[in-house]
Symmetry: C2
Subunit: 221 residues, 2 copies
């Protein structure tokens, strides 16, 4: 949501020395990439112990994640990663479609060959994660594919919203991985790249929409 730096490639210890920010970034990445199971509880003192900070920065990091919908705080303060209802999953999927179709459409006129090359190499990394059965790695590289494309849209607020949706879906996304079993590799991603090369906007919108929607559909039981 904010303009803070991306927690993606994350050099081991970022230059930003703020304690709560470090905790926030670490937790955000863990949640977004499905490293934390849905329903898992987090305690202030536990976080503090794990990241060697006091309760204050831990609380601020948690509260920020709650504000972004990444964590839900149950009655009386306990905070845990949320278990999404089917309606919520469908709504978030629709939101992804809405935002990401627009982002890709805006990125299209600015997509140079260098970008397409980069997307293709990310695709290789995704295939590797699939073959290694690395769920967290798969989710991370998959989102990196999307983020790389959308960065070209020059629409930071829109991208931030898309990332917030990813964050909310993170814990659930992990469950998705268990069901796709090697079928999914960069099928839709190849369509996206083809549409980018061809400058085919309707095709791009369609490809992004299905890539975003189709996976989540498996989750709705």
């Amino acid at each position: 949501m904010s303009i803070s730096a991306r927690p993606t490639a994350s050099s081991p210890s970022d230059t930003t020395a703020s304690a709560h920010d470090r905790v926030y970034r670490a937790l955000r990445a863990r949640i977004m990439y499905g490293d934390i199971a849905p329903g898992e509880a987090l305690t202030l003192r536990g976080i503090g112990r794990e990241y060697e900070v006091s309760m204050t920065p831990a609380r601020e990091a948690l509260r920020r994640l709650v504000a972004e919908g990444a964590l839900s705080l149950s009655s009386s303060g306990r905070v845990a990663t949320p278990e999404l209802s089917n309606e919520r999953i469908e709504e978030l999927a629709a939101l992804r479609a809405l935002l990401e179709v627009e982002l890709s459409s805006r990125a299209l006129p600015r997509a140079h060959m260098a970008l397409i090359d980069r997307l293709q190499s990310i695709n290789l990394a995704i295939a590797e994660m699939v073959s290694k059965r690395d769920a967290v790695g798969y989710i991370r590289t998959n989102l990196e594919f999307h983020r790389t494309l959308y960065l070209r849209a020059q629409a930071p607020a829109m991208l931030a919203m898309a990332e917030t949706v990813w964050l909310q879906l993170g814990p659930t996304m992990r469950a998705l991985y268990g069901r796709l079993r090697r079928t999914d590799p960069p099928q839709n991603h190849r369509l996206i790249i083809a549409a980018l090369k061809a400058g085919d906007e309707p095709g791009l919108r369609l490809a992004v929409r299905s890539d975003v929607t189709q996976g989540l559909r498996l989750l709705v039981v």
Copy 2:
């Protein structure tokens, strides 16, 4: 962003007795409805003094608002309401269009007569605010019109995102009011209501899009 209760009609002292939440809600309303000028600085101790709490809850409220993009924290921690660039305003307007068109479209099949009545009475309130030259009241009732409609969409995550955009535009929205000078009253709102009555989805989408876009266009210099 979160599922917290609406700060709108706000009974004077809410049942939720949490200090930081009270401060958060109060500040959120003030920002969203344009009660704070763009660029205005907020201090932790100042907030604490104003709402009679210590620095801790004040800091949490501010930090949450920063996370939602309602406030920008400049280099080295100072927090102030942001002055939006033209590109940012255009992007946020596009985001409003994207989200609110979808929300209105989802609300359409569920719009009963009671809803339309309520929207019309809100429209009267808007006209009254315009005649009273009450900028904050105008913004508040205008957003209430939109929120009342979108609540019918049964899409809480999407509505929360729209509200986040409103929040980011809040301080800027105030500046808009100075330029519309009694011209604007519920012109587009009447189109929205007409489309709702007729069950005309394309017309509704168009009316919402222009209502959302046209005002903001005045801000881009």
